[in-house]
Amino acid sequence: MLNKNFNLFFVISLLLISGCELGPSNIESATASQTLHLGNGTEPKDLDPHTVTGVPEHNIISALFEGLVSVDPITLAPKPAVAESWVISNDRKRYTFTLRDNAHWSNGDPVTANDFVWSWQRMLSPALASEYAYQLFTVKNAKGFNHGEFEDFRHVGVKAINPKTLVVDLENPTPYFLSLLAHYSTFAVHPPTILAFGEREEAGTLWTRPGNLVGNGPFILDSWRLNYIIRVIKNPHYWDHSKVRLNKILFYPIDSALTEERMFRTGVLHATSSTPLDKIATYLKNDPDKISIDPYLGTYYYRLNVTEKPLNDIRVRRALSMSIDRQAITDSITKGGQIPAFTFTPPNTQGYFADNNSIIYDVASARKLLSQAGFPNGEGFPEIELTYNTSDGHRRIAVAIQQMWKLALNIDVRLSNQDWKVYLSRVQSLDYSIARAAWIGDYPDPNTFLDMFVTDGGNNQTGWSNKQYDHLIDLAAAEANPIIRYQHFQKAEKLLMDESPIIPIYTYTRVLLKHPQLQGWEPNILDIHPYKYVYLEDPVIGSEQ
């Protein structure tokens, strides 16, 4: 009896060990088959462009679908996609799109203007509860429809004149409108497919499964193993399929950056979605061709709760902001070429530069400000709490800043890390003193940043309110002249930094590990890499001098 069991153990352990001969890695066989392996953060919630919100979802959806407009991978300028051309009216409020004849769904059906009207109605419908519905609020009456103020979609400013002509009316002249159309929330979905698996406004039906999903992007969904691998293969019906060089893309949802890095190092992945902080220096030193550091449209900052003492005092807020040595943080902690930030909007956001004289690193002035606020040398300053969501990187920065404040201002700050959801609910209910935050722009325009801090803005979450600021943002929205518009934004941002309800810390960079095989993967501030330009090619050895 027992002997039998032992034999069984033995056989199974042999089986386990038997695979010791490692075959060729993913990377080694990738060039020939043009198969791209990508680290992709977490498991996507779904692949329905109208209901999802995250970056991992975005990476896959952009392979499966295409909008009216796409962006140039280098300049981010709008490029024709499903729409082969468009005309903008003089008041910049009416856009007339002409759809290309050879745009097809992956089952061969043509993509029509009606598909877009149908899809936008779906996306804006209250019942679907799309979290990104506001992306289309620039369209006339879209907000009202989404809020259920009326039910007739014909009042919304989007019409199909004929199968290939789509007319969109806007509320305001919105210079970044075309960029919005490159965002997946404005993509069209295939109505018959949706209806085959449920109602138009029904979320979470089975239409996004492999075999069911019909898209219009360069790739089609081939397989989806939960929490493991999502595989897409080339779509022969894609209008520009001759340009697409990749045959397959495999997306790996990987929670741990350390695991992802190890997978990259052993040739499982071509590119990662993140990079462990401590590996950056190693790669820069040993494998500079395998790491890429690119500018990114995002700001790492701290929110200050201006509704409670002592942070209701502008001088205290400015003192806190001015006593942070941002350069030391980017040099010694984040190490990924991040830029110390003294304004909220990243520099050169589509040609916009904020006035960055308001906040500087100046410990002496900071001490003076704090003393004026009634806390000379930090005396009497209450212990306040710095809340951040659980993450090693956030902790390291917080630890450094805690110490900087202690040394510069002699004040004690307690660190408090919270589970993500607790952190969110704390911040949203203003149940914090200082909270770590980050903002990644949705589209390359200062509005995506500055719009946040209007009075009672959903993402304001500092309790800060300034009439003049609100007014400036309104003026900018209505302004058609880009130069004057940016001036409004600059004034607003100066106001924001003077009152400092937030402490910008650094402007993000996109640090990722990237195999030299990976070509056509162009750096841009939105970290968008249209797969139709991407291909794999073994680097020529010895060509560099």
């Binding site: 352990s13 001969e21 190890r262």
Partner: protein
């Protein structure tokens, strides 16, 4: 036997019911809802989502609705992975975690029992001290340390084995199984040593020797069964703990198992998924305790199945 099962089943019902009830209300009292996100979701959207997932009903109503669905075998849809049902996700993850756990337990048993036996046959000798020191090291070395270490040595330096995946490339199951099994191997080694020492002092071992059996045969045929009693008692809770603890190993090796779902569901406030995995775990605990008792009886014919314990 039937009585035993019935009685256990009867005990399992209140246990699982209490677990369901407590978990249901506990998770809803934790701050943050399933739909809170980085970029603030408008109140209207939240309300509609709540409506869709029956979260707008009074709490007790939600509870009874949940029970109502549950008795019909419906765990509901996942709140996070919107096009997945909880049943589907468990069906995808459980077999993998189960397979991992089986390998780990087998490694733990083979290594642990062998080491424990070696040590017990010659107590207080090098043959005792070396395996027991290794066991102690194994206990000191948690999987979050051992896993990356093994990957570094065997995956990256020596390049013998893959560093990730599960059934994707040959040999990729070796390191996860060893990582998960080693701590348990260490515990089992200690338990086996203790149990064997006890049994080897028994009179019937002397009888076996008087019959002319060799030391190996004495150990395998006569001592092992009795000596493993503490190990068997340990196995039930250990396997349950192993399933829950596979999260770390699954994360390190990118394995699409249930452990990751179990932990992530809590962070995501994926209510139905938390409920599903917790119910599964409680059933497993009840079941494994029962198996552990059955196994103890099978190993030790003197015991009879007592309905109470």
């Amino acid at each position: 036997m039937i009585r035993f099962f019935l009685s256990r089943l009867l005990q399992a019902i209140p246990v699982i019911f209490i677990v369901i009830t407590a978990t249901f209300f506990l998770i809803r009292s934790a701050p943050g809802g399933p739909f809170d996100a980085d970029k603030v979701v408008s109140q209207e959207v939240i309300e509609r989502l709540n409506e869709r997932y029956n979260l707008d009903a009074p709490l007790h109503q939600q509870y009874f609705d949940y029970l109502h669905h549950l008795v019909r075998g419906d765990f509901g849809p996942s709140f996070r992975y919107t096009n997945r049902s909880v049943t589907e996700m468990i069906a995808a993850g459980l077999p993998i975690t189960f397979e991992l756990a089986i390998y780990a337990i087998m490694i733990a048993l083979i290594v642990g029992i062998a080491a424990g036996m070696l040590a017990a046959v010659k107590p207080n000798s090098a043959q005792d001290y070396i395996p027991m020191s290794l066991a102690m090291t194994g206990i000191c070395m948690p999987s979050f340390l051992l896993g990356p270490l093994l990957v570094l040595v065997f995956g990256i330096w020596l390049q013998w084995l893959p560093v990730s995946g599960w059934g994707y490339s040959p040999g990729d199951k070796v390191l996860p199984a060893i990582t998960l099994g080693s701590t348990y191997a260490a515990y089992i080694a200690r338990l086996t040593r203790g149990g064997m020492l006890e049994v080897l002092n028994q009179d019937y071992i002397r009888t076996a020797k008087a019959k002319g059996l060799s030391t190996f045969n004495i150990i395998v045929k006569h001592a092992l069964r009795g000596g493993l009693a503490p190990v068997v008692a340990f196995l039930g809770p250990a396997i349950a703990g192993l399933l829950a603890g596979s999260f770390v190993v699954e994360t390190i090796f990118q394995i699409p198992g249930l452990g990751r779902f179990y932990v992530q569901a809590a962070f995501n406030r994926d209510y139905t998924m938390i409920m599903g995995t917790t119910i599964l775990l409680s059933c497993l605990i009840v079941f494994l305790n029962m198996v552990s008792d059955l196994l103890a009886v099978w190993l030790n014919p003197r015991l009879t199945l007592n309905a109470k314990n």
